[in-house]
């Protein structure tokens, strides 16, 4: 019987402000990530969605605002406490980020060998379990260079669940995937969330795939939250931002034309 945590908020972000150089990537963002749910964070490219994951993981510090994970104030954690927290979090990178000099098996075994004192036969069993969950048990002796993009991500996913984390963050998991790999990944994310009682955060701009498994969606544009709700709510939303994004309209609040002088002026320059 899975415990009902659906009212509990695992990640709570309030008043987040973060800048890179002169640009405010986040300018007052409030987010609630609920336990046991799949929450998607979407928005146009370049809105800093990956940055948000790094902020949650403590790799970056916000200029203002609070980020709480499981009750802990992430930016204020010391090195040891932060590392302990990270053992309970998983981050799936866009490229998988496997160690290229190790086999698939060794990659998945890496967190187990680093953080536990289990003997090799136990580790072997665990690795087999995780690889089986992602359907790549047979590929265990291959090297990352021999894998396709989709397989790389699945191995990385197996590695991410090696220590049975409480949450997984997915950085653009569907980017550049063929339909079959995409379908496999979508199903995996959904299954893992259900079977392991995980909390999943998906950062993506693939509306269709993400909407099919997300329980909750935040739309971020220009450093602020411009939309929040279930996939149905957002689909039917009247807001122009949300409408443009969800339906893939080329022009709207995010303009088609990069800011430029009047067309006539540019044409006449050659004369």
């Amino acid at each position: 019987m899975k415990p009902d945590y659906s009212d509990d908020v695992l990640v709570r972000i309030r008043g987040l402000r973060f800048a890179r150089g002169e640009r405010w990537i986040f300018d007052g963002v409030d987010l609630d990530i609920r336990r046991g749910r799949v929450t998607a964070i979407m928005g146009p490219s370049g809105t800093g969605k990956t940055t948000l994951l790094r902020l949650i993981g403590g790799q970056l510090k916000p200029h203002q605002g609070s980020i709480q994970v499981d009750g802990l104030d992430v930016p204020k954690l010391g090195r040891k406490a932060l590392y302990e927290l990270r053992k309970r979090m998983g981050l799936l990178f866009q490229s998988g980020a496997l160690m290229t000099d190790m086999s698939v098996f060794d990659n998945v075994a890496f967190p187990l060998r680093e953080h536990t004192r289990l003997n090799e036969s136990m580790i072997r069993d665990l690795v087999m379990l995780k690889l089986h969950a992602v359907g790549l048990r047979g590929a265990r002796d291959l090297m990352p260079a021999e894998l396709s993009g989709g397989m790389l991500r699945r191995v990385a996913l197996a590695r991410t669940i090696a220590l049975d984390p409480m949450m997984i963050m997915y950085d653009e998991p569907f980017a550049g995937q063929d339909p079959i790999s995409m379908g496999a990944l979508v199903q995996l994310i959904h299954l893992l969330n259900e079977a392991l009682g995980l909390t999943s955060i998906i950062v993506s701009h693939d509306v269709a795939e993400t909407a099919s498994i997300a329980d909750d969606i935040y739309l971020i544009s220009d450093g602020k939250v411009v939309g929040h709700g279930t996939p149905e709510e957002l689909n039917n939303s009247r807001s122009p931002w949300v409408d443009q994004f969800m339906h893939g309209l080329p022009d709207g609040p995010v303009p088609f034309h990069y800011p430029a002088r009047p067309y006539f002026a540019d044409l006449m320059e050659g004369v």
Binding site: R86, K87, L91, S95, A97, T100, F110
Partner: protein, 260 residues
């Protein structure tokens, strides 16, 4: 004109900024040293990658440098009727200078650039970042073993270079040019001092190993995570290592041999 000065100032500040980052990086690496003890397998693996794989180039270069020293030395000394001192000349040149310096430069080119490229690419493909997120300190796991492997390998390589060079010189001097076997060795053994020459040479190669490995690892760690960034970092490693080795060589030589 003002712009040129501004640019100069900016480059100066950038230099100090990098130097500061480099020193902080070094302190991080040294602080992680004690964590290497339970992970000797990592160290051994790196000694292989850095030391063993540099053996071939060191052996061949050492041999040829020694042989050339024999040849050139003979040509010069024979004018003074002092060709019996050829052994001393070859040995001192190698042990004091050429052994540590040339092997350090070769090391920077072969092992140093490989290290920079490896770390740079790990950074570019987010392997270091993913390690961090898995609660493994990438400095301690990736950088520290490589640093100590380099530090250990350098003096060994320099010693091998010098030893092979001496025998190369012997082959040319005694074997080809007819210098007397006995005087070649006896004069050498009388004049080459275990403390002043050999120990100082070893100290030099330790210092060079420290600096070259540090530069190689830092450039890789600090590289821009693009293919261009990594390639520039690799070039910087070789160039900066060369400057550092030659500059330090002058300072060390002045300190060690200046009084003689």
């Amino acid at each position: 004109m003002i712009e040129r000065l501004q640019q100069l100032g900016r480059s100066g500040l950038l230099f100090f900024e990098r130097l500061g980052r480099g020193v902080l990086f070094l302190l991080q690496v040294l602080a992680g040293a004690w964590e290497l003890v339970p992970r000797l397998a990592l160290l051994i693996r790196q000694i292989y990658a850095i030391g063993v794989l540099s053996l071939l180039i060191i052996l061949i270069s050492g041999l040829f440098v020694g042989m050339v020293l024999g040849l050139q030395g003979y040509n010069t000394l024979v004018d003074f009727g002092a060709e019996e001192s050829l052994g001393v000349m070859v040995a001192l040149s190698l042990v004091r200078e050429l052994g540590p310096v040339v092997s350090a430069l070769l090391f920077a080119g072969r092992a140093g650039s490989a290290l920079t490229a490896e770390i740079g690419i790990m950074k570019a493909t987010e392997q270091l970042s993913s390690m961090e997120m898995m609660a493994v300190d990438p400095v301690r796991r990736v950088i520290v073993p490589r640093f100590f492997a380099g530090l250990l390998s350098m003096p060994l390589l320099a010693a091998i270079f010098s030893a092979v060079g001496v025998y190369g010189g012997y082959f040319v001097a005694v074997g080809l040019l007819g210098v007397d076997d006995g005087s070649f060795w006896s004069q050498m053994q009388a004049k080459v001092d275990i403390y002043d020459d050999i120990r100082n040479g070893i100290i030099k190669s330790f210092v060079f190993g420290f600096v070259v490995t540090w530069i190689a690892l830092f450039e890789g760690y600090d590289a821009l995570p693009t293919s261009e960034g990594v390639s520039r970092a690799t070039t910087r490693t070789v160039v900066h290592s060369a400057f550092a080795v030659l500059g330090l060589d002058f300072v060390l030589t002045a300190l060690m041999f200046g009084d003689i």
